[in-house]
């Protein structure tokens, strides 16, 4: 019985959390803007993202590539481009130090990612190019490094290089697994030449004027990059970059969450199996305890099929009750998860899909049916004379 309850509860929780997580990711993607495309260095593998996603350094994308994509003559539907060279670093101010993410970015960040400045300003296009040592810090960085003090115009050290804080970003939270507040923005050229000593981009994002123009824009981006990289093969087989829309990234996330879902479903299936065996034992004990009753029922004219269906119904009733308790229990757990998610500032929707209730109920009934067959046929097989003599 407990196994059935836990199994069905797990089914409900899995499906509810799955639906909640999907709605969360969807709403976050929407808040990022669905008309974004991303360009990653390296060709994507057969079935998955390019190796650069896993941290392999590929140096094929450059700052000049980003600038070329920004030109309307190359990509007519482009709104703006942000290029990133990322890293980690230690910030220090007075006696405080704090380790955080360094985002070498272009000014396009504000337009493409929709960032907002809370105090001060973001760096300018000029500062982006002339190796200015200016930094715009995220709200978490401000809290950790400056506490209640005003960080503007303060001089901080990033990996031993001096920078001036010119702005603080508005708090944004974690969106699509990316913490926007725990980072510091510096001009991309400064990042490359002074801090990390590299010449390539980590990745870039481009904002397209309309969602419907994304397929066209992707082709334009590919053509531009192939021309710049001297790639003549238009099939994409020898590309040294990958272009993806936000929708494709969403699909990728869905694959990951689906994998998680299947894993949890396997756990649920296992506990349903254990619960089913438990039900079978309960029913076998019940058949033994009620042997005389079975004998009597047969004596007064019950056919074997009647006895079988009686015990099958009892088994289904047991698992049905267990399943119903599991549905209630699972819904409560899902609700608690939603409450906790809200507490952690996620826009988490509490959903118990009707399909999950139907699934939970039908699965528990099937378990009752399947694991009731053996005890029920044992009961039906009993010889009435033997059964009536049973003590």
């Amino acid at each position: 019985m407990l196994g059935i309850i836990i199994g069905v509860a797990a089914v409900i929780v899995i499906m509810s959390v799955g639906a909640g997580a999907q709605s969360l990711i969807l709403s976050q993607i929407k808040s990022l803007g669905s008309n974004l495309i991303g360009v990653l260095p390296g060709k994507s593998e057969e079935k998955g993202p390019p190796a650069s996603v896993y941290g392999v350094v590929i140096t094929t994308l450059t700052y000049d590539d980003a600038m070329a994509l920004k030109k309307k003559s190359n990509v007519p539907n482009i709104v703006d481009v942000v290029a990133y060279t990322k890293g980690v670093g230690t910030l220090s101010w007075n006696n405080n130090t704090y380790d955080t993410n360094l985002s070498g970015a272009t000014v396009g960040y504000m337009a493409v990612e929709g960032g907002e400045v809370e105090a001060g300003r973001f760096f300018t296009a000029e500062e982006e190019k002339n190796l200015s040592r200016v930094a715009v810090i995220g709200s978490t960085v401000k809290k950790e490094l400056f506490g209640e003090q005003n960080p503007l115009a303060q001089r901080i050290k990033i990996n031993k290089e001096m920078f001036e804080v010119i702005g603080v970003m508005k708090e944004r939270g974690t969106v699509a697994f990316q913490n926007y507040d725990d980072q510091v923005f510096i001009p991309i050229m400064t990042m490359q030449k002074i801090v990390s000593g590299v010449n390539h981009l980590g990745f870039l994002r481009a904002k397209i004027d309309q969602e419907s123009n994304i397929p066209r824009a992707i082709e334009d981006v590919k053509a531009t990059l192939r021309e710049r990289h001297d790639i003549t093969d238009a099939t994409g087989a020898s590309d040294d970059f990958t272009v993806e829309s936000a929708a494709a990234a969403l699909d990728m996330l869905k694959i990951i969450t689906d994998g998680l879902k299947y894993f949890l479903a396997a756990v649920a299936a296992l506990s349903l199996l254990v619960g089913g065996i438990g039900i079978m034992n309960i029913m076998l004990v019940s058949v033994t305890e009620r042997t005389r009753e079975i004998g009597l029922r047969k004596a007064v004219g019950a056919r074997s099929a009647k006895i079988r269906s009686q015990f099958l119904l009892e088994s289904i009733f047991l698992t049905g009750v267990g399943g119903s308790i599991g549905i209630i229990f699972g819904s409560l757990v899902s609700y608690l998860i939603a409450v906790v998610a809200h507490f952690l500032n996620y826009t988490w929707e509490f959903i118990v899909p009707l399909s999950s209730i139907m699934l939970g109920l039908s699965v528990s009934i099937l378990v009752g049916l399947f694991f009731g067959i053996y005890p029920a046929s044992q009961a039906a097989k009993l010889d009435p004379i033997e059964a009536l003599r049973h003590e």
Partner: protein, 237 residues
Amino acid sequence: MLIKIRDLIKDYHSGEVVTHVLHGLSFEIGQGEFVAIMGPSGSGKSTLMHILSFLDRPSSGEYLFNDKAVAHLSDDELAGLRNREVGFVFQAFNLLPRTTVLENVKLPLLYSENRKGLEEKAQEVLKSVGLEHRINYYTNQISGGEKQRVAIARALVNQPSVLFADEPTGNLDSKSGVQIMEILQKLNDAGKTIVMVTHETYTSEHAKRIIRIHDGHIVSDAPVANRRHAGDGDLLK
């Protein structure tokens, strides 16, 4: 003829060992008879009753019930016959626990093809055994004699052709035993055929005819000379 058996044989096979229980019995029981089958334990009287009441099949020989051969019917057909044609009264009552008197009496009707008027039939038959005041009691709340009367009511509810009673007074005190025999005699007076298995001479003398069995053979088959009438003031034993 209601019941007619000829050369009825029953053997039990357990591995290599064959146990002969009934060695070719032949007799007839007519409508309205009250027959006691007597014999010591192991004589085969219970086996005989199981065959007569369609709970078991003979190994060979003939069994005609209402002039129809029934020895080779399927399990389901036998179940149907048990439901329609016979009623059982057991030594150990065999009532369903945690269930009311009325539900117990209704039980055979649940397996019957004609389920109309379940409630009324069950109440009527309970009234006929004098238990209308116990209808909604649970079976663990009533006395042994009352339990056996519930069992009789249950046996009668489908209006069977014949009532089989297996040591019906075996688990009862003598006063309750007398009541049960009185009911059986009244039913027989009203025309019900009754076949009763017992090992007590005293109880058997309430029947009209006694068939004595020993080691699977009939040793005597005779009418009761001085039939006892329950309720005449004499107590069992």
